[in-house]
């Protein structure tokens, strides 16, 4: 399965990069995060409680960030397994800035691919893509909110709630 898209922050690229790299912000932005422990440099063990359609489950796994090119590129790897299935995914993030002054925007393009298995695949496959898109949208929205709080009037959330994404095909 592949999920591609982008998200536009109303903030300069360096600020967006900083919040994306922030450990606490990451923990807050992860969906259903119940446990978050650093186990290495840029490596975390997590417990996530996620529901995909009717498949609600607790997944234990690892999150790893790598391939940093500050402030424009990094990779986020996620793997998790639970009673209802497993998930292995990788997201490639590319940041770029456009506009100036009040009109400054940072576009984060993401390109994600994932393998899922077990009940999650058998029952949830049909739902996975929209759910994954929604989760990506929520992730960035949360990051932006946190950026707003921390940085005050420097940036403001994009009022358009819609997360723009390119068409993606199930793998």
């Amino acid at each position: 399965m592949e999920v591609n898209g982008d998200y536009k922050f109303k903030a300069p690229q360096n600020d967006v990069w900083r919040i994306l790299m922030d450990k606490q912000a990451l923990q807050n932005a992860l969906p259903g995060c119940e446990r978050f422990e650093q186990v290495g440099e840029n490596e975390y063990e997590v417990t996530l409680k996620i529901g995909v359609a009717s498949i609600k489950g607790v997944y234990n796994g690892k999150i790893q960030m790598a391939d940093f090119e500050e402030p424009s590129h990094y990779i986020l790897k996620v793997e998790g397994a639970g009673g209802q299935g497993f998930l292995q995914g990788e997201g490639i993030f590319d940041l770029s800035q456009e506009g100036e002054g009040d009109k400054v925007r940072t576009v984060v393009k993401y390109k994600g691919s994932a393998n899922v298995g077990g009940t999650l695949a058998g029952i949830g496959a049909r739902m996975l893509q929209p759910v994954a898109k929604m989760m990506a949208g929520n992730f960035f929205k949360s990051m932006e909110k946190q950026l707003d709080k921390g940085e005050g009037d420097k940036s403001e959330a994009v009022s358009d709630e819609k997360v723009k994404e390119t068409e993606a095909q199930p793998s």
């Binding site: 234990n60 009673g83 497993f86 695949a121 058998g122 029952i123």
Partner: protein, 766 residues
């Protein structure tokens, strides 16, 4: 014969139906056993992986959990049996899993919910392995090998028929086509359900299970558990459909028995629908390369098939034998002198396949019926004409086929003509021309199928092709029939009572038919392969014969005549030439249990058990014709008309014959247009619910115009051939032929099933 009521041949409503449609039937899940516990399984999420570790402590400690077991705990259980030796199939996999749904652990707890929740607490760590999904890649050992003893994943090779090389060398025309027979889920309305009880004081195991074959299951369960067979009772109570999926002995059944014995409590399990789609055996799953040789006049001279048959990861009871049933009937109703079939049976990282309504024969019928149409197209002949040229002629029966079978009887041209007339073939072709002129996509598809039924001679079935019947007159003259077959929708409570009513001259309502319980039925071999009537019914005829013999003795005593002089006519026993004085069968039965004046000369009781070994298979046939229109804008298939004329020999119960044909056609259309088990490249099932697996409903199915011809068989005393699988076998090629005919203007010769709208839309619009 005592025919008086003439129940045989009458349109009798099924006596099973009132309880089924009012919800008062008793299925396994309706049964409650005091103190029963519930099982839930941890199944592999990976198609192929080594098990690194299994953590069961949290599940074991959970409130209400009574036990957690893994593969190592059950090493005293023997691997599951198959008709052909295969890979070791343990009831719980140890060390390695080989398909999504493979059992890794089992939890037994005080409630269904507790068991399921606790199963989620079990943590299994896997090391992923490469996955064999594609059969042709698998046959090359790519990307890996499932079992080292099966080189390149090739389990068994069936190589049958005669030398076709000369036929192809001299052929005026050859046509080649690759066919995919997609995997299908079985989806009986009742999924598998199990209740196992171990009575410690009696040393007795009772297994209630939704199964097609309780007697065979009892033998196999004994062998797997090292339990003497007489200590086992298997009961298949009301069974809500089987379609072949419930013939095998399953892991869950053995595990339930093992735990019941270990813990000393009854154990229950019911398969969920999504569990069914990964854990119950699936149907079809063949890839075939088909070649025919023919003359310019359309006479087929040679047929050559190379098949890659998807076994899945293990063999259940008949898994590797299914392609064999394809092999036997590849030439269908046609007198093709040179036929060859070779199947590579490939082990893959998927759920095992096994029998599914038709079991190998739908694949054969599909291939030859599609090839007949491709030949007709090539030769610009009408598809009926090509068929007519190749039919086995009426004077050739019994017909010895190139695949080694002896066809009992047939009259294919008469049958096809009746169907053509019922459809109004000429008018329909005219209408098609008119519609085409307006740019519509209208098609007519024919299949003149045949199949083999009445499985079968024991030589085909590891010694167990026979069946049995017991007829017991009660002291009041009522009758209890017990059969060794195990109906689960076929309606033998009705048809067998019809037979006995006529044969013994007893009122239909005084006869009851029992089945499915090894404790009160004679040993038999269940219901599958359209054998219930053709084999079980034949055994019943034998038992009737024995009853009549004994009854004649009693009649002789009552009528003060020699038994040899007694005739049984119009439901009465009388002395030959002196019809004035007579006695009925029911009066004889009363005498048999109360005639103290007689017992000095004649043994009390009126009961008979007989067994029947079929001397040959039986060969039903028929013609199915579908007229369809494909919507050019959406690619959807709409039925204009559907006609089926089936010939199953003598019909005991025409209404039930029609019912079987209806259900069969529904499933055949399902394969042609809708149903498909889909795995991704990692072997993950992605059609794991009925939202993703398109099971047709009434709204997708047309009205069926049915008729029949009657060509009796000489193989059994009923002259009946069996009809349980006919509809499934005849319909799929008819529908696909019709759809391909509808879009013939596109130049596309073949599209693999299911013919979903998007495939047809693409064909039309590219």
């Amino acid at each position: 014969m005592g025919v008086a009521s003439a129940m045989v041949g009458a349109r009798v409503k099924r006596r099973e139906d009132p309880r089924l449609i009012t919800g008062s039937a008793s299925y396994v899940d309706d049964m409650q056993s005091v103190g029963q516990l519930y099982m839930s399984f941890v199944r592999s999420q990976y198609a192929h992986a080594n098990i690194k570790s299994i953590k069961i402590d949290a599940a074991k400690a959970a409130k209400g959990v009574r036990g957690v077991f893994i593969g190592q705990d059950m090493m005293d259980v023997n691997p599951l049996p198959s008709a052909v030796p295969g890979p070791e199939y343990r009831v719980i996999s140890v060390d390695r899993v080989r398909f999504v749904g493979d059992i890794v652990a089992v939890v037994v707890a005080e409630s269904r919910g507790t068991a399921r929740d606790a199963a989620d607490l079990i943590e299994v760590e896997y090391d992923e392995l490469p996955v064999v999904v594609d059969v042709e890649q698998g046959a090359k050992g790519l990307p890996t090998v499932l079992f080292p003893q099966f080189e390149n994943n090739v389990g068994v090779v069936h190589d049958m028929g005669n030398d076709v090389s000369e036929a192809f060398a001299n052929a005026e025309i050859t046509i080649e086509q690759k066919f995919m027979h997609q995997r299908l889920g079985s989806n009986p309305m009742e999924t598998r359900t199990v209740l196992a009880e171990w009575k410690k004081g009696d040393d007795m195991m009772t297994l209630y299970t939704s199964n097609q074959n309780p007697h065979l299951l009892r033998t196999l369960l004994g062998a797997v558990m090292n339990l003497p067979e007489q200590m086992i009772r298997v009961v298949a109570p009301e069974v809500g459909g089987g379609f072949g999926t419930k013939i095998s002995l399953y892991r869950e059944e053995v595990i339930a028995c093992w735990i019941a014995r270990k813990i000393g409590k009854p154990v229950k399990w019911g398969e969920t629908r999504s569990e069914h789609l990964i854990a119950s055996s699936q149907g079809r799953g063949q890839v075939d390369y088909v070649k025919i040789a023919a003359t310019k006049e359309g006479v087929v001279t040679g047929l050559d098939i190379v098949a890659y048959s998807d076994m899945g990861a293990f063999y259940t009871l008949f898994t590797p034998a299914i392609p064999l049933f394809t092999a036997l009937v590849i030439n269908g109703v046609y007198a093709i002198p040179n036929c060859h079939y070779k199947s590579y049976n490939i082990l893959t990282n998927k759920t095992p396949t096994d029998a599914y309504r038709g079991a190998g024969r739908p694949e054969a019928a599909f291939m030859i019926e599609r090839m007949m149409d491709l030949l007709a197209t090539e030769l610009k002949m009408d598809p009926t004409e090509v068929r007519r040229k190749n039919f086995i002629a009426n004077d050739k029966f019994p017909y010895s086929s190139a695949m080694g079978l002896v066809y009992d009887s047939g009259d294919y041209a008469t049958n096809m003509d009746k169907a053509l007339k019922l459809l109004g073939y000429e008018e329909m072709r005219k209408m098609q021309q008119e519609a085409r002129a307006k740019g519509r996509y209208v098609g007519i598809g024919i299949s003149t199928y045949m199949e083999i039924c009445g499985l079968g001679p024991s030589a085909f079935l590891a010694g167990r092709g026979w069946d049995s019947a017991n007829i017991r007159f009660e002291p009041t003259g009522k009758v209890t029939v017990a059969t060794g077959v195990s109906p689960h929708g076929q309606g033998q409570e009705t048809t067998f009572a019809q037979i006995v009513a006529d044969q013994l001259g007893v009122p239909y309502d005084d006869i009851i038919v029992k089945h499915g319980d090894t404790a009160n039925t004679p040993i038999g071999n269940g219901t599958y392969g359209s054998r219930g009537l053709a084999v079980g019914g034949a055994a019943l005829m034998m038992a009737c014969e024995t009853i009549i013999e004994k009854a004649k003795k009693i009649a002789g005593f009552v009528l003060e005549a020699n038994a040899d002089d007694i005739v049984f006519e119009d439901a009465k026993f009388a002395v030959k030439g002196a019809p004035g004085k007579s006695v009925t069968m029911q009066e004889i039965a009363v005498k048999a249990y109360s005639g103290s004046d007689m017992f000095g000369q004649i043994e009390p009781g009126l009961e008979a058990t007989r067994f029947w070994e079929p001397g040959n298979l039986v060969f039903p046939f028929g013609t199915h014709i579908a007229a369809v229109e494909v919507d050019g804008d959406t690619g959807e298939v709409h039925f204009l008309k559907y006609v089926a004329v089936d010939d199953c020999g003598n019909q005991i119960s025409p209404l039930l014959v029609e019912g079987q044909v209806h259900g069969g056609i529904a499933q055949g259309i399902g394969q042609a247009l809708y149903e498909e088990i889909v795995h991704d490249s990692n072997g993950q099932l992605i059609s794991g619910t009925l939202m993703d697996y398109a099971l047709p409903t009434a709204s997708e199915l047309p009205h069926y115009d049915l008729d029949s011809t009657v060509t009796p068989t000489w193989v059994n005393p009923l002259g009946a051939k069996g009809v349980g699988e006919a509809g499934t076998i005849g319909s799929t090629p008819a529908v696909v032929n019709a759809v391909m005919d509808a879009i013939s203007s596109t130049g596309v010769k073949h599209i693999d099933m299911p013919l979903r709208p998007e495939k047809l839309w693409i064909a039309i619009h590219s």
